[in-house]
C-alpha cells in the first residue's frame, strides 16, 4: 500500500492520526509514529512553550521523528510563534487549518517543509493547490469539532476534491476503521485522517470520562451546533442541551459566545467534566466500542482494509 501519501509523509501506512485540541499530545503522536502512521500534535490548544514540551516528548518516545507533524489552526494570535517553535525542533510536516492556505504555505515550503491544509469544500481545495500545498485533507460534515458551513459529507466531498485538484487528497470525517479507509480509496483518496477513533486509545490525553462517553455513543449522540458562530460537532451532554435550547429560541451569536465562555473544551475533554464541558467528537463515535493501544488499533485497521478489499 506504499503510495504517494506514504512517500510524502515518510510513513509505511497512509493514515494520519489527526491533531485535536486537548487530546493529541506528544504521547499519542509518538505512539502513532511508532505504529507506522503520521503522528500529529494538535497545537490548537497549546501555547508555544507547551507545544515545545509536547514536540520534545514525542521525539523522545519514537525513533521515527520524521513521522511527526504539528497541526496549527491559523486563527490564533500566536500562530507564527507556534510554527517557529515546531520548526526549531525539527518538525518538517505541517497541517494547517481554519485560515487561508496562502498565509504560511510558501514560507514553510521555503524551509523544506511539507504543508497540508484542511478543506471542507472543493473551492478551498483549489486555493490550497494554488497556494502550493503538497496535499489537502478534505473533511466532511460527519467529522468532530469545527466543520464547514456547507455541510458537505465525506462521501460527496472526496470525489469532488479529487476531480478538482491534482495534488493528493486525504479523506477525513466518518472514518474509524479499515472499511471506511477502503471506501475513501475507492473515492480517489490517497490517505485517510482519523480523529475520533484516536480519542479512544490508551495513549490519547482525553480524560477517561470522555473516552468512556465516546465508546458509549450511539448513532444519534452527536449533532452539528453553533452554526451561526462557528459550526462544531458536539457530543450530546448538559452543555449541548443548553446550546440547543438557546438555538431553538434563536439566541444571537453574542449570547451563544457568552454562554460558551472560556475553557469549556478543556473542561470537558481534558478535565473530564461531562456536564459543563464542550465535547468535540465525530459521528463515527457510534462505531467505536473499545480503547486499544495505537499499535493494536493500526494493525486492526490494516486488517479490516484488506478484508474490505476482498468484498469487491
Amino acid at each position: 500500500m506504499e503510495n504517494k501519501i506514504c512517500k510524502l509523509l515518510h510513513i509505511p501506512h497512509p493514515i494520519i492520526q489527526a491533531g485535536m485540541v486537548w487530546v493529541s499530545g506528544g504521547k499519542l503522536a509518538a505512539a502513532s509514529a511508532n505504529a507506522g502512521i503520521l503522528g500529529v500534535i494538535g497545537a490548537g490548544s497549546m501555547k508555544p512553550d507547551l507545544l515545545e514540551l509536547h514536540v520534545q516528548k514525542a521525539k523522545s518516545l519514537t525513533s521515527h521523528p520524521e513521522r511527526l507533524a504539528v497541526n496549527v489552526p491559523l486563527l490564533y494570535e500566536k500562530t507564527k510563534e507556534q510554527l517557529e517553535t515546531a520548526l526549531k525542533l525539527g518538525i518538517k510536516t505541517f497541517i494547517t487549518s481554519a485560515g487561508s492556505p496562502k498565509t504560511y504555505t510558501q514560507w514553510l515550503k521555503d524551509q523544506g517543509c511539507v504543508v497540508i491544509h484542511v478543506t471542507s469544500s472543493p473551492e478551498l481545495a483549489l486555493k490550497c493547490e494554488a497556494a502550493g500545498c503538497d496535499a489537502v485533507i478534505a473533511e466532511g460534515f460527519e467529522a468532530g469539532g469545527h466543520n464547514g458551513r456547507d455541510e458537505i459529507t465525506t462521501l460527496v466531498l472526496i470525489p469532488q476534491v479529487v476531480d478538482a485538484v491534482k495534488i493528493p487528497v486525504i479523506a477525513a470525517g466518518g472514518i474509524a476503521d479499515g472499511r471506511a479507509m477502503a471506501a475513501a480509496f475507492c473515492l480517489g483518496a490517497g490517505g485517510v485522517q482519523m480523529g475520533t477513533r484516536f480519542v479512544a486509545t490508551k495513549e490519547s490525553s482525553a480524560h477517561d470520562h470522555f473516552k468512556a462517553a465516546v465508546i458509549a455513543a450511539t448513532s444519534s449522540s452527536t449533532m452539528l451546533m453553533m452554526k451561526n458562530v462557528v459550526p462544531v460537532r458536539l457530543l450530546k451532554n448538559k452543555f449541548f442541551d443548553e446550546i440547543k435550547m438557546m438555538e431553538d429560541r434563536c439566541a444571537t451569536p453574542a449570547e451563544l459566545i457568552q454562554h460558551l465562555g472560556h475553557g469549556r473544551a478543556k473542561e470537558g475533554m481534558l478535565d473530564g467534566n461531562m456536564e459543563r464541558g464542550e465535547l468535540e467528537i465525530g459521528q463515527i463515535a457510534a462505531l467505536i466500542r473499545d480503547i486499544p493501544t495505537v499499535e493494536v488499533l493500526v494493525k486492526r485497521i490494516l486488517a479490516e482494509y484488506e478484508s474490505a478489499k476482498l468484498r469487491l
Copy 2:
C-alpha cells in the same frame, strides 16, 4: 457482480433507481429495468388511478416486468389502495418508507412479495428486520428529499446498519457514480440506490428546467431544511430562501407548513417553476454534469465501479 441483492430483485446489476415524487414514472422505471437494474415507480405523488397508468406504461415498455418495483411512502391516506393497485398489476417488489415497517410487510410477504424498507438509522433497521423485510435501504443525510432527524451520513450509517442486521443492506444518499458504489460495497452494502443521478436522465419526468438546475448545482447548492416539520434536502432557490429566512427568525412549524402550502413539489420538479417550486435533490447533484439515457448511465457506472476496484 451477481450477489444476494441481484438474486432477490431479479436484476443483473445491484443498483436501484430510486422512486421519487414527480420524477420516476413508468418511463424511467422501464428504462431502468431494460438497463438491468431495479426500476422503481415513485407512488408518493400518485393517486391509485395514476399509479395504475404508470405501472401499465412501465410494463408495456419492458420485457423485464420482474425488474419493476413500486415505492410507497406509508404516510398517505391511500397507501393500502396504492399497494392493492400495484399488486393487482403483478408488481412483486415493494419499497416502503416514512412509516412503520410493521404495517404492511407481513401482509405483502404473505402475497409472495419482496419488501424493502428505507431507514435512516440502525435502530429502525433492526425493526425492519424484525418485521420481516427482505432487505433495508439505509439512506444518509446527504440524500435528497425527506431525511432522518439524526443527520447520520451514508459513510457513518452503512457500517452501523451492516453490523446491526443480518439481512442485506442497500446504501443510499450521496451515490451517483461507480466510485461511490464501490465505496458502499467496501462498507458492507450489497447494493446501491441512486435518486438524484436518475433525475438528470433523458427518461426521468423531471421538468427540463429542473434537470438543468441539477446539472448546474455546485457543492453548496443544497441544504437540509424544515427540520422542525419534516427534514427535507432542497436545492437553493427563491422558495428555499424564503424558508431559510423564516427558520432564521424561528418561525413556528405551523407558519412553515402554511408557507409550504400545497403542490410546491409538483410546481417545481414537474412543472419547472424554478422560483416557487420545492426542489428536492441530493448533495451529490454537485457531481452531475450531463443528462444521459439510463442505458448509457448504467454502463458508465459499472465501468467506473471496475476502475474504482482497481484503485485498491
